[in-house]
Subunit: 262 residues, 2 copies
Amino acid sequence: MTGKLFIVGVGPGHHDHMTFRAKQAIEESNTIVGYETYVNLVADLIEGKEVHRYAMTQEVERAHQCIDLAKSGKIVSLVSSGDPGIYGMAGLIYEILAEEGWDRKIGLHVEIVPGVSSLNSCAALVGSPLMTDFAVVSMSDLLVPWEIITKRVEAAAQGDFVIVIYNPASKKRIHQLQDTRKLLLKYRSPNTPVAIVKGAFRESEEIVLTDLESMEKHNDKLGMITTVIIGNSSTFMYKDLMINPRGYTSKYNIVEPQQTRK
Amino acid sequence: MTGKLFIVGVGPGHHDHMTFRAKQAIEESNTIVGYETYVNLVADLIEGKEVHRYAMTQEVERAHQCIDLAKSGKIVSLVSSGDPGIYGMAGLIYEILAEEGWDRKIGLHVEIVPGVSSLNSCAALVGSPLMTDFAVVSMSDLLVPWEIITKRVEAAAQGDFVIVIYNPASKKRIHQLQDTRKLLLKYRSPNTPVAIVKGAFRESEEIVLTDLESMEKHNDKLGMITTVIIGNSSTFMYKDLMINPRGYTSKYNIVEPQQTRK
């Protein structure tokens, strides 16, 4: 009996934004593994299946268990929200398999099922901030030294990238986003648009549009399901939207060629 | 009669990776607008609907037409591959609406339907390159001056970001990726892993894993449906996979706590 391992991203917390492939992989599986919260997101798809729920911070054990279950012949879906290929479980699974000498051509069947990640869902909700080059930075310094993260924030500021911040803060981890804000203020105007999106597409969704100057007034929105988007020099706010033009205005005209601008 | 405008990302070129919401929006629409190639991706969903096909480089006209059709009471889906929120049509639609004084609370209903973008799909296909901070840069200098793009590549190199390159080259535009490679070689080893993914999840899909030194041997794979991922100092190749560890190895151990490393 040949097992399979799907590493499935179910997108933001709403079935609507799950892909057909994600649903198909879960349906094909007889065994489901994931954080309590993620497993609950797909509760209606997993009735009658063997389900292993985990608490946070048990990633290594969870990865080993998934591999072992699949090796024993089971068809396993390791589910997570968003996209497992972005700061997700895909990496740990491959690291462990590589350590074991696995060969994808002849060994266990492993498939990463990509999903709509926070950068995609949050951008869609707040306007069009990702029409230009952007950098994605995680504030979590559990596994990466803080000096490296700071260096990256500074580089992104110097490159005038729009910056998408994953894991902006947790209960124990607050100073990182504050330090990042201070660093960015050396390069960017206090009026630079900032979007704080908590629980995108979930029932608890909360969106705040603010700026670098005032973002600290909204620290109560920060947490593990929050993403922060910080504009670059071209980003502007229009009513309740955060917009990046698709290029330099000198380079194009949004009025149709045959018309004259009023 | 109230119109609606959906700006729909259908993901990479295969229905499997489309979201349920994308399908729903297209089904709800009576009018479909998009590039010939994108419209063909959803041919089976649009039978009997009013369909407007466009050639490349008519984005401004297309955006105006979508807005006009929706204002006239039609339910319109502007379809594109990937995610319209990443270098896509979302921005142009909002720029035009902002110019007109539109207010999303009381005016025309507009919804961005996010999709699996190239960064998500290509990462899933080649391994797990996006476990660490990354920068996304488009090589297209049609709308952005080349000096700005160069500055960003250099900043991304200095920040040791993994770099995802959109629009790496077209028939007329070849030097940009060559210049980028030369610039990156000032900061990164010639052995830095590089993935070139053409037509992710399409029938014509081609994937090349190479490195900064040798990537130019594969210029025949470049084009408008190609994405290039360039590793950072931690990225490694393992057989036919491009892997980024999820953190600094000093900070975690992939062997389970109760086991001893061999």
